[in-house]
Symmetry: C3
Subunit: 325 residues, 3 copies
């Protein structure tokens, strides 16, 4: 694509261009080479940097000879360029090597890859892509434009909304972890509820979302979930929330809208977290959290020799304070 | 099912019933609608609650017009009802699309789903269900009534007991994480030991249990393991223990009977944990733990602005205490 | 194998042997039985131990009647014996039940298992083993002698080096977790970069390594990664590092050579960790770490009743210290 075309597409002002050049790819500022375009989010990142890109998106004209496109927000303009340069993989048709049971409804323009198994009563909307080696359990519903990457398992009765993306290795709808005691043994509480994933949700690789006991585990519209996250039975995650990698949410929690749970946060069961809450990385949540606030309990690694001393006194705090009194 | 039948099945006393009604489903108390039955674990949950269920299981008669079944333990009665209302999925027969190697023994009434691979020398007991897209490695033994959900991988030589449930995405018997140094490089210690899963164990989705170096990694009878748990090579987990989601147990640990490791607990290698120990969520275990005690080191998220102050003084504790002295 | 042969292979000195014996297996010292050989890493482990092995590798002659092979390093000699006793599984040929797209290059002596899908443009070196139910995305390159266990997913465009081992359930190259805000919603930043895994890397079961936005996520030569690890988009992990189970590394981190991140460590995004750093288990890394040092912030589980008191005073530290002043 010509640089002039790119400038036009992004509604940007082209400067320093002597003659039009061909842009073949996109890279970040310290990786971009000849023929590639990059962006500068902030001038301060330019310091000491040797720029080899053929063009750069920027908010203010840079004091460089390199061709530049001046745009309001170089970062989001760059993201738009990615969408343009790398169109979605074309995938269509139902592989003869897939296994489609009876009584399955399949919309138009659907892709079902090799060795994927679709069980009885499944309903698949139009333009859905289900990559190879997936398993879609009985009576599950998958709505329009949803993409399911290879080796995803969805147990029976789930409802997956429109424009959902589920990455490889996800397991949706496995039994909730629930037992009761009988004669000193753990007896399984059968889980027959549903998982409902609303529209525009994305779920990262190897994440697990368990089915409810008799009700529903719900991930609401627009929420984004990273890799290796655990969401237990009967949870409800509000709209547009962000659940970062390796977070664990125990059973029956109610997480609000626009919540951010940073990496490796753990939430105990039956907790309510209000809207717009942020929980910082590695924190443990054992009490309800009020809307709109930032919470944390994560510790920061320091030199081990110092940390050992801190721990030594930390564990002695009760005695030390008693003595002080 | 008629409400009168349910009362009879549960050996309960039916009150407030004017004419018999049909129960079509089970829900929790604030989700149940007309035609559904629910339960009240404790009267206090009733406060301010609008109950739309057609019937309710309860320990004491409630001051409500709704038909009630009085039972000793409404909760476990409800669990029994789930089992009755939702019988196990009928699955039988060996799919022609599965790949069964030579020298495989398969018991009666076995289900093997599409695209599942059974390698040489595998022995499968009767009434075993292996869902699609699984891989069962050479010489593995799977005993009666065990259920293996889709996309499970069991490496070679494992022994899986009776009535075991393994959820999707589990990996049983991958190599233990062990290396030795040779010329400044990590050389792999080959792992050729076994994984043994005893009877009545359940293993959650995407959990990994590694094979031992030359001996055995053992999960004993009746232990229940949640999703995304890591159990390393040569561990032995005692009977009837509960390992909650995202727990990590490093190599060669010996965990006792009836132990509970709550979510995101980490256990260092070569640790012994006695019987009946409880470790609270997010704790780190670096020393042996004595039987029958409760241990913890998890922190509780508070407002971030306050937590920062706590951390500030925590990291200064050695200096502060020195000064005090 | 005769004990005398083993002694010769290991270049060891055979003592206490009256007549040559047949060794049929290897076990650890407290598990080994008749016909099996074991090793003693340190004499102190012998205390109170009833040894039933038929032979033992040891550094110094033990005061026991059992036949012994004296070697410099019994542990590594034992590892060598494992390699000899248990040769690699012979696997060759491309299953007719695999699905190989057009324009795929496959080297000599390659194994591709049942129901594995190889997409267009993939290049596979010689002596590569890809077990069943894997998915290898478009244009991915897999170099010589690499082993990919069942149910691994590699998205398009990845480069996997020589002698790499990838365990079951791994997902390589899923989209990085990146969004920008538009009208109060999370808009997906498309990720079109690569994952590059260099030679001699091993990756544990159910680990996820995300693709970069436009550049590369790189795991350098000789690095070993355990199970259930998360490595986010645009990270670079240096040579010969050790990443233990359940570690999470957020986006755009640069981890040095010979680094050890112990179990459940979390690293925030854009962090640089110098060469030879060790981070102890469960620590949170929020700042750059200097080369050659040991860091930590993990806590140690103690009795819960005591821990509650420690926490009580910990959370009151700001007030306590204010009062003291």
């Amino acid at each position: 694509m010509k640089l002039s075309q790119i400038a036009q597409l992004l509604n940007g002002q082209l400067v320093n261009l002597r003659e039009d050049i061909e842009i073949r790819g996109l890279k970040s500022i310290n990786k971009a080479k000849k023929g590639e375009i990059t962006f500068v989010a902030d001038k301060k990142y330019l310091k000491d940097l040797q720029i080899n890109a053929s063009a750069v998106l920027t908010k203010e004209k840079l004091d460089l000879e390199i061709p530049q496109i001046i745009v309001d927000n170089p970062q989001t303009s760059f993201y738009r360029l990615i969408d343009i340069f790398y169109p979605e993989e074309e995938k269509a048709g139902i592989s003869k090597k897939a296994s489609i049971s009876e009584n399955v409804e399949i919309g138009e323009n659907v892709y079902i890859g090799e060795f994927t198994v679709i069980e009885e009563g499944v309903k698949i909307g139009s333009s859905v892509k289900i990559y190879p080696n997936c398993y879609i359990g009985k009576n599950t519903v998958i709505k329009d434009n949803t993409v399911i990457y290879p080796n995803v398992v969805i147990y029976r009765d789930a409802v997956i909304g429109k424009n959902v993306i589920i990455h490889s290795g996800c397991v949706i709808g496995a039994d909730g972890f629930g037992y009761y005691q009988e004669n000193g043994k753990h007896k399984k509480i059968k889980h027959v509820g549903k998982v409902i994933i609303e529209d525009d949700v994305e779920i990262g690789a190897n994440t697990t979302i368990d089915r409810a006991m008799v009700d529903e585990t719900v991930i609401k519209k627009g929420t984004k979930i990273d890799n290796l996250v655990m969401i237990a039975h009967n949870c409800e995650i509000g709209e547009n929330s962000i659940i970062v990698s390796q977070v664990g949410i125990a059973g029956s929690c109610k997480i609000g809208k626009n919540v951010i749970l940073a990496g490796q946060v753990g939430v105990a069961d039956h907790i309510t977290i209000g809207d717009n809450v942020i929980v910082t990385a590695k924190s443990g949540v054992g009490k309800n959290l009020e809307a709109g606030k930032v919470y944390g309990s994560g510790l920061q690694a320091i030199e081990w020799s110092k940390w050992k001393k801190v721990m030594f006194y930390l564990y002695k705090l009760p005695e030390i304070i008693k003595k002080l009194k």
